[in-house]
Each structure stands twice: as structure tokens, then as C-alpha cells.
């Protein structure tokens, strides 16, 4: 039995997104991923005695942008606070974050549900610094002889996006996360490289009897780093809570952790053991005053968001499904838009992007951002089909050739002599040859066997290495056979 017959899930998510700035939030060190340990560090991000933070303005720009993309109110006055706790990956043993006056609040984003569109509230968006990373000599901290710390990530800017507890099913949670990550990607806030851990989720989970309007006791599960983990974790945790409730037991308010290997959540600390972070205003930084003008400047620079893009694609005649696939990554959507400017049919273009080109890129693990076939080249290829220069079948081969060599489709068609034979005189001779060599099929056709025509067309195509204009071949064959 599933819990969902009796209970309704109530879920809110805190999403941590690494921001796509070149340098860290409070110093000039690079944010690049994967450098040698402790090479992207300086006295400031190492928290040496006497150093002071200087806020990277680009972080504020991106935070405002995120707020606008999520329909938030941008605070005119906001500030940083210190969140105090001890851990070796935290150079100062406090994290510079935002507490009571976040930069953005009261926003929303829209998701699709089986019952139509639904607005999910965004409580707040705030800026903070990332911590470093423990490097253990063994498997875990408890089984290791020693542990080191790599501070390359320390001070990388993070955006924390907190949703309202508006999500009512695992599917809704996933839809919310996918939409959120897409928005961050589209607005250029983050590269959203999940595999590098640049997006992390904490979920708040509670159940309540269906029909009830009160919230149940919630647990918080920390540090999930993929959509798949979130799904599995939510499924496990809601079952766990449902079992407790069905047995008449209570759900403890606590922080839990997700064990990916075992596929279960484990208690980390109870409400009583919860950290007292002793937040207080960061005295080393001045308050952030954001004037209307600044917000408007960022608003003007905000690119089209996924929802708007989907609507626009649909207005071009694409299906809901095609629009959703094309906008699933900003790179693919941008690719579509650029190719579309060369005057090709939207549906044909969508098919080629989602079909043949996607398949090619997948083989080498390429993305649309660095596709060896440029949008101009793909559009050129489609135009060659449209004006009858090549057939769709030849075009597939030409696409592979562009992919391999980077040459323009027109050049490839010319070099390889792939242009369609549309000269009736030249084709007539070939058609006559084929008819003479396949008397059996001719007889069949004349006897009323329609399929024999297809065979004869195939023979003409074979004789021309597929270059014959299929329409013309059909016409010529029919003419000859009717005589």
C-alpha cells in the first residue's frame, strides 16, 4: 500500500546554487572547478588573521537577476550576517551569509501538474559563501588516519533559494527543481553542473492526512545533490513517516541525512541538538543598498526565461512536447533560436535538433554549446533539402560529414557530388535501363501489384547512389509503365 492513499506530502526545498562568477565572493581568487588542492586560495579566503572581505559586485548582480527571474521583491536594504559554527572546512569558523534581511524575498515560479499550472512560492533568496572540502586519507572521517582540507571552494559564491512548503507530491518537487535549475541556467546565474556538486538540495518533508489543512511534524534532509537522489529520498522518507503515523507513533522533528548507498535516511541531530548559529550582523561589510535604477538595469539584461521561451516556441507551431524538450537546456534552446533566424521551418528544425543532431552529440558527450555543427550549417542543410538540392536521406550523411569535418553543407554536397539528379533527360535513361533489367517487376506492376513500383524506385535510387530526385523518379516510372 502506498502512503498516498491516506496522506498528503507537504514539502519545501532549500536549493544551494553555485554562482557563475569568475572570482570568489569576498576575494579575487578563481572559482574554477577542479584546480590542484589549495591553489585557488589567498589570505582572505583562508581566513588568515587580520584579513577583511570585499564583496564581489557581480555576485549582487546575479542575485538580483535570480530574484527577478523568480518574481521576487528585491530588497532596497539588505546585509550580511555571520553564521557561527565550528568545522574545519570553514576557514573562519563562521560562514558569511544573510539572515534576517535577504536580498530577495516573496517570489514564485510556475510548474506544470496533471491538474494544470501551479505557482510555487519562493520565500527568500540569499547570498552566502561556500566552505572548503575535507579530504580523508581513508573512506570516511571516522575510518581515516588523517584528513586534510582543500579550500579551493571556500568563498565560492552560493545562492540559497528557499521555497514555501507548497509542494504536494514527489512529482511536483521534481517539476519545481527542474524548473528552478532551468531558470538559473537561462538567467546565467549558475552553470548548474550537478555532477560537480554545483547544485545541492535540502528538503523539508512532512505528511498530513488527506483533507487536513494543518501541517504535520517535518524532518529536514540535508545535502542531496541530484534529482534522482531527491526522488528516492522523498519516496523513502514519506513511506517512513507514513509507517510511523499509521502505527500511531510520532514523527520526530529532526535533521536527517540521505544514505545514497543504502537508499535510506538516517537521523543526524534532533531538534534539541540543533545548532545555535548565533547569527549577528557581519561588522566587516557594509549594508547593501540597492537603488531602483540598479534593479532596472539588471532587469533589462535578463534574457528570456524557460516558460516564456516555451510559449514562444508553441506560437511557432511546435507541440507542447517539442517546446519542452527544446527548452530543457538553455544551450539547446539557444541553438534552435539561432538556426531559426536563417529562415527554416520550425517543425523540421526541431525534428533535426531533437533527433539526428542530438544523437550525434550524445555519442561524443558534446553539448549544444560547443556543437561541431553550427546553427548556420544546420539551417543551410535544411535549406538544401527544401530547395531540392539533396534528399532527406542524403542530408543525414551530409550532417555526419559536417560534424566530422566542420565543412559547410554546400561545400560537402559539391565536393562529393551529392546534389540530387533532377534532370529529366538524364534520369530517363537510367529509368529505361532499370525497366529493361527488371522485366519481372514490370510485369507484376502491370498485373496490379502496386508494391512493385517501390522496388523499381529503389533500383533507380541505387543506380544513382540515392541522388535521384524521388518525386521525379516516381513520375517518370509511372509515365513509362503506363505506355
Amino acid at each position: 500500500m502506498s502512503f498516498s492513499d491516506k496522506f498528503e506530502l507537504v514539502c519545501g526545498v532549500e536549493t544551494h546554487v553555485e554562482m557563475a562568477t569568475k572570482t570568489k565572493i569576498f576575494c579575487g581568487c578563481s572559482t574554477e572547478f577542479g584546480g590542484e588542492q589549495n591553489t585557488h586560495v589567498c589570505p582572505v579566503c583562508l581566513g588568515l588573521p587580520g584579513v577583511l572581505p570585499v564583496l564581489n559586485k557581480e555576485v549582487v548582480n546575479l542575485a538580483i537577476k535570480a530574484g527577478l527571474a523568480l518574481n521576487c521583491i528585491i530588497a532596497e536594504y539588505s546585509k550580511f550576517d555571520r553564521k557561527n559554527y565550528y568545522y574545519p572546512d570553514l576557514p573562519k569558523n563562521y560562514q558569511t551569509s544573510q539572515y534576517d534581511l535577504p536580498i530577495c524575498k516573496n517570489g514564485w515560479l510556475e510548474i506544470n501538474t496533471p491538474c494544470g499550472k501551479k505557482k510555487i512560492g519562493i520565500t527568500r533568496v540569499h547570498m552566502e559563501e561556500d566552505a572548503g572540502k575535507l579530504v580523508h586519507s581513508g573512506e570516511t572521517i571516522t575510518t581515516s588516519k588523517s584528513s586534510g582540507v582543500d579550500y579551493n571552494r571556500a568563498g565560492v559564491p552560493l545562492l540559497e533559494i528557499v521555497s514555501e512548503p507548497d509542494l504536494r507530491s514527489v512529482d511536483e518537487v521534481l517539476a519545481y527543481l527542474e524548473e528552478l535549475v532551468q531558470i538559473m541556467d537561462y538567467a546565467g546565474i549558475s552553470d548548474c553542473r550537478m555532477e560537480q556538486g554545483s547544485v545541492r538540495f535540502d528538503v523539508n518533508v512532512s505528511l498530513r492526512p488527506r483533507g487536513s489543512s494543518e501541517f504535520g511534524t517535518r524532518t529536514e534532509i540535508k545535502n542531496l545533490n541530484s534529482f534522482n537522489s531527491v526522488r528516492r529520498c522523498l519516496e523513502y522518507e514519506s513511506e517512513r513517516q507514513a509507517e510511523l503515523l499509521l502505527k500511531g507513533e510520532k514523527v520526530e522533528q529532526e535533521t536527517r541525512t540521505w544514505d545514497e548507498g543504502q537508499g535510506i535516511t538516517l537521523s543526524l541531530r534532533s531538534k534539541e541538538e540543533a545548532h545555535d548559529y548565533r547569527y549577528f550582523p557581519e561588522p566587516d561589510l557594509v549594508p547593501i543598498i540597492i537603488e531602483r535604477e540598479w534593479v532596472e538595469r539588471i532587469r533589462a539584461s535578463l534574457s528570456e526565461l524557460p516558460a516564456a521561451k516555451r510559449e514562444r516556441l508553441k506560437s511557432l507551431g511546435l507541440s507542447e512536447y517539442d517546446a519542452a524538450v527544446l527548452t530543457s537546456s538553455k544551450a539547446m534552446a539557444d541553438y534552435f533560436d539561432e538556426a531559426f533566424t536563417f529562415g527554416v521551418d520550425a517543425k523540421t528544425l526541431a525534428n533535426w535538433i531533437m533527433g539526428d543532431l542530438s544523437a550525434l552529440l550524445k555519442i561524443d558527450g558534446c553539448s549544444f554549446e560547443n556543437s561541431p555543427v553550427s546553427p548556420r550549417q544546420l539551417a543551410g542543410l535544411l535549406n538544401l533539402i527544401k530547395d531540392g538540392t539533396i534528399s532527406g536521406k542524403i542530408a543525414k550523411a551530409v550532417l555526419e560529414e559536417i560534424y566530422k569535418t566542420g565543412k559547410d553543407p554546400e561545400v560537402i554536397v559539391k565536393e562529393k557530388g551529392l546534389a540530387q539528379i533532377s534532370d529529366a533527360g538524364a534520369l530517363e535513361k537510367i529509368v529505361e535501363g532499370v525497366l529493361a533489367a527488371n522485366t519481372k517487376s514490370v510485369e507484376d506492376y502491370l498485373a496490379g501489384k502496386e508494391t512493385a513500383l517501390g522496388y523499381l524506385v529503389g533500383q533507380v535510387m541505387k543506380a544513382t547512389q540515392g541522388r535521384a530526385n524521388p518525386g521525379l523518379v516516381n513520375k517518370l516510372l509511372k509515365e513509362k509503365l503506363s505506355r
Binding site: G47, G50, V54, N84, R278, L285
Partner: protein
């Protein structure tokens, strides 16, 4: 004595006119330091080699007929909480005993560029917490006027070194009086600039919203000359204010005619020793005779300044000092596991007073207590700022004693609360972020007494003028301890 006692301007003239080389000058001071240190112990580190190398640079410039800056080639020393690249910066704490910063504080950099010769790092109360320098994790410093007394603190080493003429000038830091109080106890000039006038980058933080670096000098003129070098906006310090830095020496005018001086009555309340009061009242008379309009005034919320200060400063320090955990640098205790390493390193590395304030601050910030303590203290801070703003609508400067007493005897004050009360006149100024100067006003029981002047934000100029005028019309700053008179007879 002449040389050791000379003003910065006089030393500059000697160098420029090639009457002495920077190397000779530096050696002279180093010799004097060697003689004075056994009794004083104002230094934690003496950087003889580095100093002589730097002095040589200046000498080459002079020999090459290149022009030199006003402080170029002149020895000086820094409080040991100001970072110096490649030179230990310990904050007089065991926990940073082995810490050598890989970078210079902005003030260190500026003094280097100005060509000054760093001869060493000066003793202090551990992490600038204290007012006697007895809280040094290494050894206490003596008062040059009476070796049995404290030099004050936390910049006790800086004040003692200047008073004993071990250096022509020094830098200290002032969070609640840590420049002015030792300046008063040692009979030198100590200036705490406006919060934001001097970069804090590289000053090891005690309480970030209160800390400010400033000069300790023999005279007001010297103070202006040093301020000229160290003040100014620094993009590395977000709390440093972009302001147009004037030439502070232009304010050194012997004239207080029609200057309006307010004397807050709260600064003459109970706790003020009569012999100190007498000296300050005499100072008031001096100003009156010089044509200033002196009037009593009131700062009604001053009685709350002390508790507000100890809450805010301790709260900030509890967070600022969290980084000393034995993981990255500094003292690391032998331990069984991670938590044990944190705890033991901090337990063994920090002294009593530091631990007391970390506890106090941690408590004040704790959930459930924040509003009652930290938030309320911030409200009081606003009231105190407003009191001052109100007073400055009427007055150009405010005048008070720097401290309620003369320097304590070593070991005399053991009750922390009694010591905290000694900061009662200096603390409100830090809470309000105002500039303030302490200058020699006379003597009580043979010990120096300090006169404190307070100005508006960025009104160091008028403060310097008021101080300079007093100095030009009195002789107190010219007196030096008897042993010094004797010990330096042979010099130059």
C-alpha cells in the same frame, strides 16, 4: 638625549642635511632599546637586521641626492596585532606564537612605502583585550615612569616604547581606549582616528566595528605627520570611508580663540580620582585663558556605554577569534580527535581574559538572549551616538580626563570589572566611531595624567588644533622619566 628626544621633523632635517645617516640613527635607537628593554619589556620582537637593511635603502637614496619623504629613514615599531609580512605577528597570544603572516597590513605597507624603518613589534594585552598589558601571553611591560606600574593597555608596549624613547613613534590600536589610555598612563600623545579613516586590513580583529589603528607619538605635530601617512580610503577594507584626506599638519595652529569646548559632566562623576580631576580642571583653565569658550554639557546615556561596549565587543570577538582552532595555523594541541583538537588548542592557547570575553560574547549572541543583550546594546549604541551628535551641534570639541586614575601598580587590579571601569571615559567614543586624542596634561603622584579631546566624525583637524594649542602653551609633554634623562646623557 637630544637625538632620542627629537621630533620627527627634526630627525628628518638631520637626515636630509646628512648630519646623520638612517643607519646611524637606527643603530642609536637599537642600542637604546637594548639598554631599556630589561626594565621595560615593551618589545616582543626586535627586527634589527630588517631595520638596518631598510635604513641602508634610505641612505643610498640620500647619497644619490634623491629627495626623501618626511618619515623616510626614521625608526618606528608596530603593535603586535598589525600584520607584517615575514615577521611574527602574535597578538601577544600563545595561540599565534608561531604565526608569520604572508602579507602586510595596509598601514604596514604605507609605512614601508613612506620609507620608515621597522625596528620591532610591541607588547600588548592578548588580542588587545585588557588595559594593563599584563594580559600579554608572554610578559608584562613596565611603565617608564615607574617600573612597578603598568603602562596601560592594550597598546601598552607602544605607549611605553614611545615614552621611553625607544622609538620616535609607534602604532597602536584602539577598540575601547587601547591607544588613549596607555598614552595617558605613559605621558605621550595617542590618537584614535575616526572609525573608517585608517584601514583595518591586516589588523588582527578584536571587535571589528570598534577597532581603529592610530599613532602614539611624543607630540601633536608628530601625530599629524604619522596620520598623514596611515589615513585614507582602502578598497581592501569595506568599512574604510572614501574621504578626501587633508594634510593634517595644516591644522597645527596655536589658536583656540572662540573655539567652543564642551565638558560633559558625566565624565567627572564618581570614580574620578581627585588628583586627576585637579589636573583636568587646570587644563580647562588653560583653554579658557587662551580664549576658548568652555562650557559644561551633558551626554545623558554615558552610564550605559560600558555594558553596551562589553556586550558588543565580546560578541564580535567571540566570532572573530573562532578561527584560531589549530587547523590552519597557530598553536595546535595534541588531541584524540577533531573536537578535542579544537577544544584543547583553544583552552591551552588562549589566556584567561580572552576566554572570559569569548564566553561572554558567545552567551550574548545565543538564541534566546540575543534581543536582551546584543540587540539592546546596539540600541544603546545608537543613543550614545545621538548624544554626541547633539553635543556637537553646540561644541567644536569635547574635553574630559582620558582615565579616572593614574597608572595602576603591576598586579594591583585583579578584578576584571574594576579594570573594565577604568575604560569608562574612552569607550563611548569607540561606540560612536568618533576621533579622539589623549595628550599629556600634567602629573599626579609623579605619574602622567592624560587629557582627552573628542571631535566630530572626520574632524581630526580641529582636534589636532585644540591639542596642539594646549601643548604649545604647556610644558608637560617635555618631561621625561629621570632614569631616561640619566641613561641617555651620552647619546649624540
Amino acid at each position: 638625549m637630544k637625538l632620542l628626544n627629537m621630533s620627527l621633523a627634526a630627525l628628518h632635517r638631520l637626515l636630509k642635511e646628512k648630519k646623520i645617516s638612517s643607519t646611524e640613527l637606527t643603530k642609536e635607537f637599537l642600542r637604546h632599546i637594548q639598554k631599556a628593554e630589561p626594565n621595560l619589556r615593551s618589545f616582543l620582537t626586535i627586527t634589527e637586521e630588517i631595520a638596518l637593511r631598510k635604513a641602508e635603502e634610505t641612505d643610498k637614496k640620500i647619497a644619490g641626492q634623491q629627495p626623501i619623504g618626511i618619515l623616510e629613514g626614521i625608526p618606528m615599531a608596530l603593535k603586535d596585532n598589525i600584520c607584517t609580512e615575514g615577521i611574527p605577528t602574535t597578538c601577544a597570544s600563545r595561540i599565534l606564537e608561531n604565526f608569520v603572516p604572508p602579507y602586510d597590513a595596509t598601514v604596514t605597507e604605507k609605512l614601508k612605502e613612506a620609507g620608515t624603518v621597522l625596528v620591532g613589534k610591541l607588547n600588548m594585552d592578548e588580542f588587545a583585550m585588557g588595559s594593563t598589558t599584563e594580559n600579554s601571553g608572554f610578559y608584562p611591560t613596565a611603565n617608564p615612569w615607574d617600573f612597578a606600574r603598568v603602562p596601560g593597555g592594550s597598546s601598552g608596549g607602544s605607549a611605553a616604547a614611545v615614552a621611553a624613547r625607544e622609538v620616535p613613534f609607534a602604532l597602536g590600536s584602539d577598540t575601547g581606549g587601547s591607544i588613549r589610555q596607555p598614552a595617558a598612563f605613559c605621558g605621550v600623545v595617542g590618537l584614535k582616528p575616526t572609525y573608517g579613516a585608517v584601514s583595518r586590513y591586516g589588523l588582527v580583529a578584536f571587535a571589528s566595528s570598534l577597532d581603529q589603528i592610530g599613532p602614539l607619538t611624543k607630540t601633536v605635530e608628530d601625530s599629524a605627520l604619522v596620520l598623514n601617512i596611515i589615513a585614507g580610503h582602502d578598497p581592501k577594507d569595506s568599512t574604510s570611508v572614501p574621504f578626501i584626506k587633508p594634510d593634517y599638519t595644516q591644522y597645527l595652529e596655536n589658536n583656540v580663540k572662540d573655539m567652543k569646548i564642551g565638558v560633559p559632566r558625566e565624565f567627572f562623576a564618581q570614580g574620578l580620582k581627585p588628583e586627576v580631576q585637579t589636573v583636568i580642571e587646570e587644563a580647562v583653565r588653560v583653554y579658557e585663558q587662551l580664549g576658548a569658550q568652555v562650557e559644561e554639557c551633558s551626554l545623558p546615556h554615558m552610564e550605559y556605554a560600558l555594558p553596551a561596549y562589553y556586550l558588543i565587543a565580546s560578541a564580535e570577538c567571540s566570532s572573530n577569534l573562532a578561527r584560531y582552532d589549530g587547523v590552519r595555523y597557530g598553536y595546535r594541541a595534541k588531541a584524540e580527535d577533531m573536537i578535542d583538537m579544537f577544544t584543547t588548542s583553544r583552552t591551552e592557547g588562549f589566556g584567561q581574559e580572552v576566554k572570559r570575553r569569548i564566553m561572554l560574547g558567545t552567551y550574548a549572541l545565543s538564541s534566546g538572549y540575543y534581543d536582551a543583550y546584543y540587540a539592546k546594546a546596539q540600541k544603546i549604541r545608537t543613543l550614545i551616538k545621538e548624544d554626541f551628535e547633539q553635543a556637537f551641534t553646540k561644541f567644536d570639541v569635547l574635553l574630559s580626563p582620558t582615565t579616572p586614575t593614574i597608572a595602576y601598580r603591576l598586579g594591583e587590579k585583579t578584578d576584571p570589572l574594576a579594570l573594565y571601569l577604568g575604560d569608562v571615559y574612552t569607550i563611548p567614543i569607540n561606540l560612536a566611531g568618533l576621533p579622539s586624542i589623549s595628550l599629556p596634561a600634567g602629573f599626579a603622584d609623579g605619574m602622567p595624567v592624560g587629557l582627552q579631546l573628542i571631535g566630530k566624525h572626520f574632524a581630526e583637524g580641529i582636534l589636532l588644533r585644540a591639542a596642539y594649542t594646549f601643548e604649545q602653551n604647556t610644558e608637560h609633554h617635555k618631561k621625561i622619566p629621570a632614569w631616561l634623562e640619566e641613561a641617555s646623557k651620552n647619546v649624540f
